[in-house]
């Protein structure tokens, strides 16, 4: 039952990622990517990480991709570059040249992984991935990274305001 869900989400994630690359209209690409993210959220949930899954939906699908789409609509960028973007055979060959060996290596590496590492499934505590244990861990062990990330976000806010206000 649940492994069916795994296949379901995986296929959706991969297919919509491929679509993202293939759609010439960036808005469609963004939508595909959002769907891919939602599917990834499902995969997260399957890995006993409900909180992270929800955050994935909230942050990636709900905020980041909305922002991207918003910008696309603001720029009407699809029209500006649509007529010029054609993926010729040369570029396609280039992509294959990089993508195939790299993907091959990665997949082989993952395949080797199985023979060497013993998966530890039975030892999971009951509150694994729950929000409470997540919060305990984040605010005790990972306090400093958390604080630094919050400062980073603040800096990003200020930076964006400056960038947006400046008249180039």
């Amino acid at each position: 039952m649940e492994s069916l869900l795994f296949w379901f989400f995986s296929v959706i994630a991969v297919v919509s990622a491929v679509l993202m690359v293939c759609f010439r209209n960036p808005l469609m690409g963004a939508l595909s990517l959002a769907i891919s993210f939602l599917a990834t959220a499902g995969l997260f949930a399957l890995m006993t990480g409900p909180f992270v899954a929800i955050m994935q939906v909230l942050v990636y699908a709900g905020a980041i991709m909305v922002l991207v789409i918003f910008v696309i609509m603001l720029l009407r960028a699809d029209e500006a570059s649509l007529d010029r973007e054609r993926i010729g055979p040369f570029r396609f060959a280039l992509g294959a040249l990089i993508g195939l060996p790299f993907g091959g290596f990665l997949l082989v590496a993952v395949g080797n992984f199985g023979g060497k590492v013993e998966a530890a499934t039975s030892a999971l505590p009951p509150d694994f991935g729950s929000m409470k244990s997540f919060g305990r861990m984040l605010f005790n062990q990972y306090m400093y990274p958390f604080e630094i990330v919050s400062i980073l976000l603040l800096v990003a806010i200020i930076g964006v305001v400056v960038l947006a206000k400046r008249d180039f």
Binding site: L27, L31, P50, V57, L58, A61, G62, A63, M73, M131
Partner: protein, 427 residues
């Protein structure tokens, strides 16, 4: 088998509740608007043959028929796929959110405990935020896919507004989360059953008045309701769904009402005790189930009786013959909605008074009472949405942005900091 049944029934039940709210709200909207504007409101549509008008309720049915049978028109310059997908997304995002709202406390039947909500998860508020944030897609895509400038502008405005107010929405709830120490909505409801200083129920609205106000405003903006209905803004700009008609328009329309209903439910859950009946926590309800039932049935009997009399009086047209549909309708309605239920309730009352409640029955009674309390509260807030819409004028776009970023966001932050400080002091 039972588990699977419950698994299917729970979402369906919740779905049914919120879908049922849609016609009620539309009726509210029309009649309320008429009431505020000192009109009668829609009352023409009727059921052929029977001649029932149901005080304008039939207009909903007529609307459905009209919208469904309209030509499914797609403009030539529209982006086909997105044009079709947008209203679905809008509706789906609105409907996804209801999943975690509890209708009553966990119900124990025998040895099995059921959570009376669609999805049994402790993510609560986060779940709601996550999926309500997807509602933007509907607006954006509708604006974009229409392939016309005005819907696009409406869509961009709507996106900007929703993104802006989502921040305040999240922030204003953080105070509640801090105070109650959980995001699980059922837990939050349970905590709200306690008493503050032994007198006042420990509702969110008393602990977080500022948070409540902020949430209320942000919820208005989030659902694109007046005074924040920038997305439509008939007087200054054409809305994102200008190019839509028929069923697709109906989906947008329903999506808006569902979103409203869910926001009302969330407000109730977070700030007004959810399913809690004031001063009567679940355990008290179960212990005194028979008294509760008596009060409940008595109230229903008295109320229904009163309602029937009222209906008769309302339909007592002077100098009208019996054959007149209007008079006949009054009598039929009085019997169906007034006297019939009243007699049924009285019958039930006698049964209850003569027998002892046992087994799981008290639990069911408690859940039903809580569900009724919840429904009343939600209906009230649905009414508030409509009430505000027909009372307040609309903001200008820049005022909306100003309010969102420069007033509500700082206020929310301040509220959060103050709450955190007080919480620290009290712990």
């Amino acid at each position: 088998m039972t588990e699977a049944l419950v698994l299917i029934l729970r979402p369906l039940g919740a779905l049914g509740f919120f879908m049922t709210l849609i016609p009620i709200m539309i009726w509210f909207e029309r009649k309320g608007c008429a009431f505020i504007q000192d009109r009668v409101g829609p009352n023409r549509a009727f059921i052929p043959g029977l001649g029932l008008r149901l005080a304008g309720f039939v207009h909903n049915l007529a609307d459905v028929v009209k919208l469904v049978t309209k030509e499914d028109f797609i403009p030539a310059f529209a982006h086909r796929g997105l044009y079709i997908a947008a209203p679905m997304l809008s509706m789906a995002a609105a409907l996804l959110t209801y999943a975690v709202i509890p209708f009553a406390d966990d119900l124990t039947l025998g040895s099995v405990t059921f959570a009376l909500r669609a999805v049994d998860t402790d993510l609560g508020i986060l779940f709601i935020f996550a999926f309500s944030s997807l509602a933007v897609y509907g607006v954006v895509l509708a604006g974009y896919a229409s392939g016309s400038k005005y819907p696009l502008l409406g869509g961009i405005r709507g996106t900007a507004q929703m993104i802006s107010y989502e921040v305040s929405l999240g922030l204003s709830v953080m105070g509640i989360v801090l105070i109650f120490g959980t995001v699980d909505l059922n837990e939050i409801c349970r905590v709200q059953g306690q008493l503050l200083f032994g007198v006042v129920p420990k509702w969110g609205v008393f602990l977080q008045p500022v948070g409540f106000m902020l949430y209320l405003f942000a919820a208005f903006a989030e659902t694109n309701r007046s005074p924040f209905d920038m997305v439509e803004g008939e007087s200054e700009i054409v809305g994102f769904h200008t190019e839509y008609s028929g069923t697709k328009f109906a989906l947008f329309f329903m999506g808006e009402y569902v979103a409203m209903a869910i926001q009302a439910a969330v407000i109730v859950t977070l700030f007004f005790g959810g399913w809690q009946i004031p001063w009567l926590p679940t355990s008290a309800l179960i212990e005194n189930a028979s008294q509760v039932l008596v009060v409940l049935l008595g109230a229903i009997a008295v109320g229904a009786l009163g309602f029937g009399v009222l209906l008769l009086r309302f339909h007592r047209w002077n100098k009208v013959r019996w054959q007149d549909e209007r008079k006949r309708e009054g009598i039929i309605l009085a019997i169906l909605l007034g006297f019939g239920p009243a007699i049924t309730a009285l019958l039930g009352l006698t049964i209850v008074l003569s027998t002892d409640l046992s087994g799981s029955v008290p639990n069911v009674v408690a859940s039903v009472a809580q569900f009724l309390a919840f429904s009343v509260k939600v209906l009230f807030f649905c009414w508030v949405f409509i009430w505000v819409r027909w009372t307040l004028p609309r903001f200008r776009y820049d005022q909306v942005m100003f309010l969102g970023w420069k007033v509500m966001l700082p206020l929310g932050l301040l509220n959060l900091v103050v709450t955190a400080g007080l919480r620290l002091l009290w712990l």
